[in-house]
């Protein structure tokens, strides 16, 4: 019968022909090694920078973060390295940046997710991508040569109008030049807007359509729908996005170094020049030696620790917020 007809044996051999177990093992270990590189680099950064900065920490002790004088080459006596005024500058310029960038970013994200037609949405996303692609040094160049001079009359006008008001007046003092905390904050705002926008956009995208439809069906206006359905649902994600933006703003170096004026200064007046930790490093590293170099690297250690802490927290918040929302949809 045909069934019992003798056919040549075509069963495949199921033993792998080329590349043995050894190659498989080697490959998986190699990929693991490259993955571990990330952890190794982060650990090495911490270890090497702390080691190099130690002389400065040892000499200054706790005064390193409480002292506001930064005098590497004094006429007489010992050099003093107090990072407080640079920490103040970092905090103030980042805060200004966030105050401007957060509402704008949320607005753009809402425009993209809730308001825009498909064409406009694509255009808006492209604009944000381009904003993120412009190198920071170009913003710095534009800031120092175009924006800062152009803003001086505006700052002066603000001072004339608000200078007499009790509390606000101290914030808006005389503006000698355009290179100050405020201009640095403005430039930083432009630079952190893309990252806050893109995360807010993702988070808003996870709001269930049913929630939004329900709000509209109950007679809410679009704004009431956004406030009642979109914001509560994505609050955690927005907080995470803002923190990531803060991390970026604190670490930004070059643009700030160009527009903040380069002065060791703590002043409530936003129109006075100052400096940030990142900017000081790049401005003074070239002419530093010995303890001075160590002190600058110490600023890097502080900056590294702060940005890593902020980023870790922000990642955790965003992850948790997104996971909860995905769960809510399903």
């Amino acid at each position: 019968m045909t069934i019992t007809e003798n056919k040549p044996d075509t069963r495949p051999t199921l033993t792998p022909q080329r590349g043995g177990l050894l190659a498989d093992r080697a490959f998986s270990w190699w990929t693991l090694g490259t993955g571990l590189l990330v952890l190794a680099i982060l650990a090495l950064i911490l270890v090497t920078t702390v080691k190099e900065a130690w002389p400065a920490f040892a000499e200054m002790g706790f005064r390193y973060v409480t002292e506001r004088t930064w005098d590497p080459n004094p006429a007489q006596g010992d050099a003093v390295f107090g990072a407080l005024s640079f920490m103040y500058g970092t905090a103030v310029s980042s805060l200004i940046a966030l105050l401007i960038a957060v509402p704008v970013s949320i607005g753009i994200a809402l425009f993209i997710t809730e308001l825009a037609h498909r064409r406009l949405r694509g255009t808006a996303i492209t604009v944000i991508d381009l904003l993120a692609a412009v190198p920071s040094v170009v913003f710095g160049l534009w800031g120092i040569l175009v924006l800062a001079p152009a803003l001086v009359p505006f700052y002066q006008w603000l001072h004339d109008v608000l200078g007499g008001v009790p509390v606000l007046g101290s914030l808006f003092g005389e503006a000698a030049s355009g290179r100050n905390f405020m201009t640095a904050g403005l430039i930083l705002a432009i630079m952190v807007t893309p990252i806050i926008t893109s995360i807010c956009r993702e988070v808003f995208g996870t709001v269930p359509q049913a929630d939004k439809d329900a709000a509209l069906a109950l007679g809410a206006t679009r704004w009431e729908m956004i406030r009642g359905a979109v914001f509560p649902h994505s609050f955690g994600g927005i907080v995470g996005a803002v923190m990531l933006g803060l991390g970026r703003a604190m670490g930004e170096t070059i643009a700030v170094a160009l527009v903040i004026g380069g002065a060791t200064n703590i002043s409530a007046n936003l129109f006075e020049p100052g400096n940030t930790m990142a900017a000081v490093i790049v401005q003074q590293f070239g002419e530093s030696t010995g303890t001075f170099t160590a002190a600058l690297i110490g600023l890097g250690v502080v900056l590294f620790a702060m940005t890593v802490a902020i980023n870790l927290t922000a990642q955790a918040i965003v992850r948790r917020a997104e996971a909860r929302m995905r769960g809510g949809v399903a």
């Binding site: 080329r18 590349g19 190659a23 498989d24 080697a26 998986s28 990929t31 490259t34 993955g35 990330v38 952890l39 680099i41 982060l42 950064i45 090497t48 920078t49 190099e52 509402p103 704008v104 970013s105 949320i106 607005g107 753009i108 809402l110 425009f111 604009v127 944000i128 692609a133 412009v134 190198p135 920071s136 040094v137 170009v138 710095g140 160049l141 534009w142 120092i144 175009v146 432009i190 679009r222 704004w223 990531l244 970026r248 670490g251 170096t253 070059i254 170094a257 160009l258 990142a278 490093i281 790049v282 590293f285 600058l296 890097g300 900056l303 940005t307 890593v308 902020i310 980023n311 870790l312």
Partner: protein, 303 residues
């Protein structure tokens, strides 16, 4: 008839769905909010437009073949062209960084997506890669200064490449992992069922399927790295003539030149800064556009 009489006496309660009955306050708030959203978009477009316009108009004025070729004048005070060494420096430093970071990053992504998956170690690496993208570039510069420049004893182009590679690595890992995740599992199973070893499956089946996405992600990382300034200033030093040797002698790059020239009060230096900015933006945009084209035309579609 009774039926019609009944229906005519009862006025049907039709809900007013036109929104005309909204109270004035709610309507005004809604309009204000919508206006605010449009204003936000405008606020993002304005600086981008202004920056682009100034860079193109002022950079275009100094642009010439000579500008792209000639050496950099060794005094900021001098007028005249020259960004050649910086352009060469940018290309070779970024190129070297890509050669190191892209392969390593892709293998790291392979570990995360093909071997590590949701294991605790893989999760930690994933989170740390995200954290590493947030490490300020100046800190990366200090790290390479301590770990390479101090050991070798001199600043060099290669030190700059190392710093840029450290900045690119996490970006490449995360974007490549996203792309590998899009490769359908059936492809892997088919290859494994045919008797291929896992490493052959990954290298000859999974990677080629995701290669367009990986390429576009890597190009975006390259574009980002080409504009990095702070680490270059710290670890590569400065030079005015071309230095094609990455390992010996100081080097220079466009961003560093923009930074050095921008704060000078001399017109010649400022002109060179604008020209360098235009050149840099053209390079960055070129990479970004190529990445977009590859992503749009050849990418795997998310299922």
């Amino acid at each position: 008839m009774t039926v019609t009489a009944e229906s005519s006496t009862r006025t049907p309660v039709r809900p007013d769905l036109t929104g005309r009955s909204l109270s004035t306050r709610r309507r005004i708030v809604n309009h204000l909010a919508t206006g605010g959203i449009y204003l936000a978009v405008l606020l993002a477009v304005i600086p981008l437009g202004l920056v682009t316009w100034t860079v193109v108009s002022r950079g275009g004025g100094v642009m010439s073949l000579d500008f792209l070729n000639a050496d950099i004048p060794n005094s900021y005070r001098r007028e005249g062209p020259g960004m050649g060494p910086a352009i060469v420096g940018t290309l070779i430093i970024t190129g070297m960084a890509s050669l190191m970071a892209i392969p390593l990053g892709v293998f790291g992504a392979i570990y995360l997506n093909e071997y590590g998956k949701q294991k605790p170690l893989a999760r930690i690496i994933r989170i740390m890669a995200d954290v590493m993208t947030g490490v300020p570039s100046i800190v990366m510069g200090l790290f390479v200064y301590i770990g390479w420049v101090l050991l070798v004893g001199e600043q060099s182009g290669f030190a700059g490449s190392l710093a840029l590679a450290c900045l690119m690595l996490p970006v490449v890992i995360r974007s490549s992992e996203e792309m590998l995740r899009l490769v359908p599992d059936e492809l892997r199973q088919a290859s494994l069922a045919l008797g291929a070893r896992k490493w052959r499956t990954i290298l000859t089946v999974v990677l080629p399927a995701a290669i367009s996405g990986i390429t576009s992600g890597s190009l975006l990382a390259v574009a980002r790295a080409a504009g990095e300034t702070a680490p270059i200033i710290i670890v590569t030093g400065i030079t005015f003539a071309s230095n094609p040797n990455l390992f010996e002698g100081t080097n220079t790059a466009l961003p560093a030149q923009i930074f050095r020239n921008a704060s000078q009060p001399f017109v010649g230096a400022q002109d060179r800064a604008w020209g360098a900015a235009l050149t840099l933006i053209v390079i960055v945009v070129l990479f970004t556009v190529v990445a977009r084209i590859i992503a749009n035309r050849f990418a795997l579609k998310e299922r």
